[in-house]
Assembly symmetry: D2
Homo-oligomer: 332 residues x 4
């Protein structure tokens, strides 16, 4: 479904080569100052241009078409729209006859009985994350006092940032792509956010993170490494009356509820599926495996641009959890 959230509800639409990508957000607090310029910084982080990213230039800024009056949010649904320009209405029928490996070309066609918009991945395109980043900007305005630090902790198998550029260059040279791991930390979160049983912090944040194309793993705190630790080593002893802990192996969440420590979450981003080098994959017209060369230029490393998307997803999930927790206490 194209909606997420209980009290801070984000609804997306659009296709890569359609008229627009848009998002409407319900539950925005009335009276937030908001301007188009507020979106610039995060959208710039998502923008291509750096080495290893696609040369498709997207100087996107949203139009705010509903929910804003005299520079402030009204409390009614806030709708942001990105017009699609710079698209080429080329021939995409080849994606029907020879779907790209590890893309949604084939699964999207099965899902929608062949009626899906195939151009540039259609509704399954990473371009939809523009809307997510925009919603993330609004979310971060709702999360007063929460600060985000998001960085790439691994790229192409390297964990030393000094080696990142070389990994990217090597991938570009071989017309290939690499993946990466993105870590997002959020500090300033009060204890008590998260809803038992099904809407734990981890459930809610992971739900949104896994909707980001190319994310194949999510972990909190020590995550998979925790599985190799002893309890005596993994447990976080409480050290003060506010509930702070000496260590933070849990990544800020105990029993699905925030404990007041920094939230730590990591997402594994797979290597871009679109690569320049030739691949062997099934040709449905020919009825046999045949070589495929994907035309156009692509991100050699989508993880570079995904960092701000991951941050936005975490911010959106946290905003919803914050509102839900406030509501519980407001009932007093």
């Amino acid at each position: 479904m194209n909606s997420f959230g209980t009290l801070f509800r984000v609804t997306l639409w659009g296709e890569s080569h359609g008229a627009q990508v848009g998002v409407t957000i319900d539950g925005v607090t009335a009276g937030l100052p908001l301007a188009v310029e507020d979106f610039e910084a995060d959208l710039a982080r998502r923008r291509s241009g750096a080495r290893g990213t696609t040369p498709r230039v997207e100087r996107d800024l949203p139009q705010i078409v509903a929910g804003l009056y005299q520079g402030h949010t009204t409390g009614a649904p806030l709708t942001l729209v990105f017009e699609n320009g710079n698209t080429r209405s080329g021939d995409y029928d080849n994606l029907r006859t020879q779907p790209r490996p590890s893309h949604a070309d084939r699964t999207g066609a099965v899902k929608f009985d062949g009626w899906n918009d195939p151009r540039g991945g259609g509704h399954f395109s990473g371009r939809l994350t523009l809307a997510l980043v925009a919603a993330g900007v609004v979310a971060k305005k709702m999360l007063r006092g929460v600060a985000f630090t998001t960085r790439i902790t691994a790229l192409g198998g390297q964990s030393d940032p000094a080696a990142f550029d070389a990994a990217i260059d090597a991938a570009i040279r071989s017309e290939d792509s690499i993946g990466g791991v993105i870590e997002c930390r959020a500090s300033g979160i009060a204890a008590g956010w998260g809803e038992p049983f099904f809407d734990s912090v981890e459930s809610t944040v992971a739900h949104l993170l896994f909707s980001v194309p190319a994310v194949k793993g999510v972990e909190f705190g020590d995550g998979f490494a925790a599985a190799a630790l002893r309890g005596s080593r993994h447990n976080d002893p409480i050290i003060d009356a506010e509930g702070h802990t000496a260590t933070n192996h849990a990544g800020g969440v105990d029993g699905g509820i925030t404990n007041g420590n920094e939230l730590i979450v990591r997402a594994a981003v797979k290597p871009t599926a679109s690569i320049g080098r030739e691949q062997q994959t099934f040709d449905f017209a020919a009825g046999k495996v045949a070589p495929l060369r994907i035309r156009g230029r692509h991100d050699a490393c989508i993880a570079l641009r995904a960092a701000v998307v991951i941050e936005a997803a975490v911010a959106i999930a946290l905003t919803d959890l914050q509102l839900r927790d406030r509501c519980r206490h407001a009932a007093k």
Copy 2:
């Protein structure tokens, strides 16, 4: 929130030492044969008894209190109840004054302003997973043709099953605990399940998996390892007209939609937070860090019993996705 699912909707309640743990399931197909005995096998897999699990004996079988008539589901909400026996109404006030590290003792109290039921973790107890396993049994009946293979792929840092027993023994000897990684594979899934954008297969399955206590990481296919691969190595070339792929790095999901291959998902289970050895943690009555010894006997390795819970969570999520996809095609 205590409910999950759009068309196959599971609602849980209960506490570790309350009267009962229960689950009601809406959206069960009318006419499914169902008996109490159907739950035995999976509940036995969750049951303690093996080395490394708690000696608390739970010979639980559910009562089917609604939604069943003459041995078949009626289509109305199906409700299953597990009476809580074998509980000791001891003194749990110490959990208020000195909450156990990495438990929900403290966060649950903050969440509910100190009114939470502290006995045995209350609503945050792993005992709630009884209800999840029971719902999983019903889900697997709904998923005709889908077969599950679930196993522990790592325990206490060991990936060789021959080393598992030694790891457990070592943990028990040192009054400590270990974690593990559980892998669930589901075959027989048709292509096309999963809802764009937010309710991708990964989002839906991970949402449910992260509601299982102690799960701190979830990955699909190659997961975190994918982040270190090249695209040329990670892409799964399609090899036939049914969309099958030569490799399955994606774990059966492309663009958030199942591709007809085996679904592969892994969950990282942290070491049991309750350990026998002494810990240093804050005593809120004393206003300072003090030693804590957790009385009672606990699972040295909760991952052993969690495998069937993970499988149930995957089955529940898949059932909902299957129904949602069928609905799209039924509309024709």
Copy 3:
């Protein structure tokens, strides 16, 4: 679906002649004092016994099986169960062969492909409203400062209460039944409740009211009579800075949002479908219309017992709307 509500979420299950009828409520504020006795007054109002009601004696009090600890709600799901006693497991196959007119016997069978529990209406029975009344008691505890006045404004076509008894007697004498109109007024509601666009106060309250069996009409303020008024006569002029109005034709709701005046809502309850006198209706076994006599004794006027159910439904809807509105302001 068997759940209602966004923040105060009520989930029902059960059948008339099954093991139990139950309800679980999520979103109950932690720390509310609650005891079984709190349900007595409202359950007594629903109870049969008065002239015109069924002699089936239901001395029902709920068991509180989850969400309560030391006499206070815990914040976790609150579950209330009513055991079904005094049921007779007679032969209900005749309801399959000759479904009662204007009952769910036929539609329920179609809905569930013939697998529905037919005994006493199964899941479609008015007995499910026990759970609604119980949830209403909890809702009214959440709605501090709101007072309800609920009364029957018409019975069997009579609007003068002095004529009600005679109407009931006449119906009983002719082995027939009568309907009625129930009016519920709630005072003490703050201005601002209600969510635009789809979850207006009227939408939310009516949704719940129309789930009560036998309700066939709902109106707010002047309701259907408003359609015959001029605007100059129907408009409610504001008379003070708090937004109070000189008249209350709107029934306390403008633009779907409460305005601080008394909420006024009426529900039309159809005559009980089960009547003693002979009816002519289709016999599916015989393949033709045949006479039907419904055995057992029934309510000659279900509206008598429905008043407290209507009040409960209004209270539940208002509680959810109150929480949602508080949440909007708490976000500041």
Copy 4:
């Protein structure tokens, strides 16, 4: 909340004098032929121009900005946008100081702490129903075999259509307004639609109808008149093996589930709140009741234009219920 529906999910946004009014619909079957022209007939029915309607000319046709490819729906969210033209950005501060009686001017301001867009009612404007009508057009395409007949059964207290024009003229002459009752009948509905308990047909349809501005009452079949009937007179005897009934007092719904007969629902529309003649109402700036004259020209009878909106609301609700029922049977 601005979304409605489980499987056919409609999300609205916009303001009367903002940039646009829009709607996104999730759950549209892939492959439906759709063109802008398909909306013309229903939008014309909603359009002003007839005697008794506002002279504000709205030659609105939607832009289809997402979810359509080569003239067919894609299965991805379908988004329709109506640009707002012909608005005058006049001074609306007077609505803050002297809110119009029986409008959302005051309640909307309270709801959103004074940040609401006051121009022309903002998000509470009847202009939002444009989006509902558009969604209704799509819904009716999904409901193959269902035919709608919608008509005004009462206007200004008159039930004889011959008297309607005179009633309108009289209202216009006295700078006043009148209300009306709209009846919508839908034939061709299969038996079995509707979800027990809370999402009965009546609950779902009424929920949507009461979100339409000015609707203050909803009834099914005999509705409020049923409350005055005897059961023997109100019951609908079944006359054939398909479940058809001799009479249709129930309006096609038994036990919340469709029975295969015509669905009959009526909505009471209050007289337009904006009237030309002078009213006495509170002036918040002056701190006292003062005369108010509403400038501009308005609908003397909004019910005239509301008929197609009511029909759209019924169609949207039915589409969702149809899909949900199909899903139950598709699970076989």
